[in-house]
């Protein structure tokens, strides 16, 4: 245990020190993107690992980005207030949609399709209110005057962004770990196995699911807002809609849903893959990255449903002692 903690501290120290040693702006840019998307993917996996597959997270991310940017541009509200407000908006929307879903026991396919409608709505609303949001052409937050960068949460310096993204990513992992160790995790696992049995055992099914959904939606909105502040340009296609939702699902599944660092591994793989293809093929690469993603997604679901990191960890742990997750997988398999 102590060795694990020491390992984490060393790894963290290396990550914090990195931008001061290695100053290549392109590499830092990639790292910031990887960290922000890792955080978004981690938020999705908080729900996804319990079988609550949501395609609505594109919507939450879009709300986080657009509410923050709109408040800043039209009302001059600092992102320091705008981001929490956007998170609250996403959270309220999540509760409005999720409460009846869980109350009336909409699960499986139906839950996926209801959340799909949600991200469809957010995308269409952003496109339809083009007088305010710029529609499908995208939207840019106003530049702050020099010296007010902190107030406007706009930094030209990549190192600052790297450290912010690193801190947020770390918080995401801590939340993941906190849920992993809480009673909620056991409750949610029971629910994902058998809702009736869980309810009979005294689990408040609706409340437990709502808690997880709310945490996940709040985090996703924060990721959207950070993405907007960092990139200083958002468009409905890059931060909202069904394509973004599917992108989250894809990255998490490739990395591994059941392990803390799985979504991060997924983000590293997908972003590096896209960049390598972009550099290797130039403009001809348009489409190729998604073609490879799609193929990988299908192959992973068929042959490696626990993801790269999940499978690697299992492979390391398997012979001496079965990990908890693995045991449960075996039980599930045996039941089938």
């Amino acid at each position: 245990m102590n060795r694990q903690v020491a390992g984490w501290i060393v790894a963290l120290a290396v990550l914090v020190a990195l931008p001061f040693v290695h100053r290549d702006p392109y590499h830092l840019h990639l790292l910031v993107l990887i960290l922000i998307w890792s955080f978004a993917y981690t938020s999705w996996s908080i729900m996804g690992r319990f079988g609550l597959v949501s395609l609505g997270h594109g919507g939450f991310m879009g709300i986080g980005a657009y509410v923050t940017a709109l408040l800043w541009n039209h009302l001059g509200v600092s992102p320091w207030i705008g981001i929490p407000l956007s998170m609250v908006t996403a959270g309220v929307l999540a509760l409005i949609v999720a409460y009846p879903c869980f109350r009336f026991r909409i699960t499986g396919h139906y839950f996926v399709l209801v959340t799909l409608a949600l991200s469809g709505i957010v995308l269409q609303v952003i496109t339809a209110t083009r007088d305010y949001t710029g529609g499908s052409l995208g939207y840019t937050p106003h530049r702050a005057q020099s010296g007010k960068g902190l107030y406007a949460l706009q930094f030209d310096d990549k190192t600052t962004w790297y450290l912010i993204a690193l801190a947020v990513w770390l918080v995401g992992l801590l939340i993941w770990r906190w849920i992993d160790r809480s009673m909620s995790r056991h409750a949610m696992e029971a629910i994902s196995e058998d809702e009736d049995a869980a309810a009979a055992a005294g689990v408040n099914v609706t409340v437990e699911k709502l808690k997880i959904t709310l945490i996940s939606a709040l985090m996703t909105a924060l990721a959207g807002a950070l993405y907007c502040q960092y990139q200083m340009f958002i468009s409905p296609d890059t931060v909202s809609g069904i394509a973004v939702s599917l992108q989250m699902v894809f990255a998490v599944i490739v990395g591994g849903v059941y392990v803390a660092l799985g979504p991060t591994v997924g983000a590293v793989i997908t972003i590096l893959l896209a960049e390598i293809l972009r550099i290797g093929f130039g403009t001809r690469a348009v489409g190729w990255d998604n073609l490879v993603y799609g193929l990988l997604l299908v192959l992973f679901i068929i042959f490696l449903p626990k993801g790269i990191l999940g499978s690697v960890i299992d492979w390391i742990k398997a012979p001496p002692k079965m990990s908890r997750g693995h045991e449960q997988e075996t039980i599930k398999a045996a039941r089938r």
Binding site: Q124, T127, V286, N290, G294, I301
Partner: protein, 293 residues
Amino acid sequence: MQSFLDIFDIYLLEAVINGILLGGVLALLALGLNLIFGVIDVTWICYAELVMIGMYGMYYLVQYYHLPYWAAAPLVILLVALLGAALHYLVIAPLLTAPPINQLLATGGVLFILQSFATVAFGIDFRNLGIRLPVLAIGDMNFSYARLLSFAAALIGMIGIYFFMTRTYTGTAIRAIAQDRQIMPLMGVDAKRIYLITSAIGGGLAGLAACLLVLQYDVHPFVGLSFGPITFLICVLGGLGNFIGGFIAAFVFAQIISLGGLFSDLEWGYVLAFAFFIVMMFIRPAGLLARRS
């Protein structure tokens, strides 16, 4: 006739009728998806992308190989039917015993593949057949022949499927499998073969829809996203696997989009339709026609 038209707002009537015409094509799309869900218990998230491939097929056959429309259509239907069968054979069949969510996500991967395949192979330009059908004017109302033709062809396609399902041995076997997946193989029905045939029929319906939609809309790699989500929502609203429910839901949705678009932008029509869907999910979670338990 004129006095009758005076009573109603002319634009309202036009929107209602256009909504009905749109409903026909949506119902056709929903039928294919419902068939696959009802029989194989799988949701093809990539269904609209099959339609997109079919639309490209029509475009190339008509524009490059100069086939007449009526000769290209059967070829495209066959092509998409084969694509549907291949999708089942390569992706769904290995996952039949996996959790349903995995099947859904795997077809999500196929969505990415087909979309980016179209981007790579055909480019991102908007293309159209170059066939412009005339517009029919009744009083002050205008209806395009393309829509009327689509509506008629969609109805004929659906009636054809109805007779196939009720009058042939294979059709009966398909309905039997949909009712009881476990028992029918014991009764001598080859489930694997039925699944493959059903997937081909579902693909064929997507192909037919492609032939009709290409008359009205330009084709580009992301065209699937403009009617794909609507199709899923229609199927869920009607009750997944419930053919009649899907049929009714298609017309309800088409009216909402058409009337919403009349009073404001088309996007608001879609927003209204999506919101209506979410509300309906809470009122009738198992579909429009489901009995309350």
